[in-house]
């Protein structure tokens, strides 16, 4: 129900249109997260690792939300999150990983996350993240 409220809010202009960046090397996750966000009316872009996330920001783009995977080649989520924060990026960064909270993701959180959700992302988890984005923007 909450996702319907959010969708209608975006459609009517009551909720400001959000933008998101999906950072994940797994094609299945990229596809699902892209569709989940699209379904909620959130314009989103997909990149395949942390370095590409940095490059996208260096090109001048900015996003309300970054969904950051942990385990990625080239540059992982911890390093990418640290670098983005060091660059002054204040977007809401939600860590998304198949590793559970018991699996030492403390380093990931301390790198600068605003939220962490275990995969697979569900609509409910995504709405919870988006609530944080709205609070952050307000």
């Amino acid at each position: 129900m909450e996702d319907e409220v959010l969708k209608s809010g975006v459609a009517s202009g009551r909720v400001q249109k959000m933008t998101a960046l999906i950072v994940d090397d797994n094609r299945v996750n990229q596809t699902i997260h892209h569709r989940l966000l699209q379904n909620l009316g959130i314009e989103n872009q997909v990149v395949g690792n942390g370095k590409e996330a940095i490059d996208v920001h260096c090109s001048g783009k900015n996003f309300d939300l970054i969904l950051m995977d942990l385990d990625m080649p080239v540059m992982n989520g911890i390093e990418a999150t640290r670098k983005l924060r060091a660059m002054g990026i204040q977007s809401t960064i939600a860590g998304v990983s198949s590793r559970s909270l018991t699996d030492n993701i403390q380093e990931f959180i301390e790198a600068g996350l605003d939220d962490f959700q275990e995969k697979p992302l569900t609509i409910a988890k995504l709405v919870s993240i988006l609530r944080k984005v709205q609070n952050h923007n307000n």
Binding site: N26, R27, V28, T31, I32, R35, L36, P120, T122
Partner: protein
């Protein structure tokens, strides 16, 4: 049209996939993401998943690179799967992830250094 024999067969097949626990509720989410613009979204994601996971499973058989501890953990996992011991399988999988991180953390700086100085000696097997 909705109750044609073909539709009934499809509904029955779909239900047995859930009854046999081949699929779970997360698949329902994929179906919920289908609409007029994306009518086959669930099938597309499943096809992608099967393609990628086939490659990963095939690579588990190819532990030929000398990653000793990873090979040991994979072999342990296989044993636990055969025993149908879920808890030990999960624990072995977690250990596999740790060993994988350790391998990458140690081998990458080694290769970086090797690239800088060039290979002078060949590796000697410890006596």
């Amino acid at each position: 049209m909705e109750n044609s024999p073909m539709r009934q067969q499809i509904a029955s097949m779909r239900q047995s996939l859930f009854d046999e626990e081949i699929l779970d509720n997360h698949y329902l989410q994929l179906e919920q993401l289908e609409d007029r613009d994306n009518p086959n979204f669930a099938e597309e994601v499943m096809t992608l998943y099967c393609r990628d996971s086939t490659k990963i499973i095939a690579s588990l058989h190819q532990i030929l690179v000398g990653a000793n501890k990873i090979r040991n953990e994979v072999n342990l996992m296989r044993e636990y799967v055969k025993e149908e011991n879920i808890e030990k399988t999960k624990s072995a999988f977690q250990e596999l992830q740790i060993q994988h991180d350790i391998l990458r953390a140690k081998i990458e700086p080694y290769f970086q250094l090797l690239r800088q100085v060039g290979p002078i000696e060949t590796a000697q097997r410890p006596k």
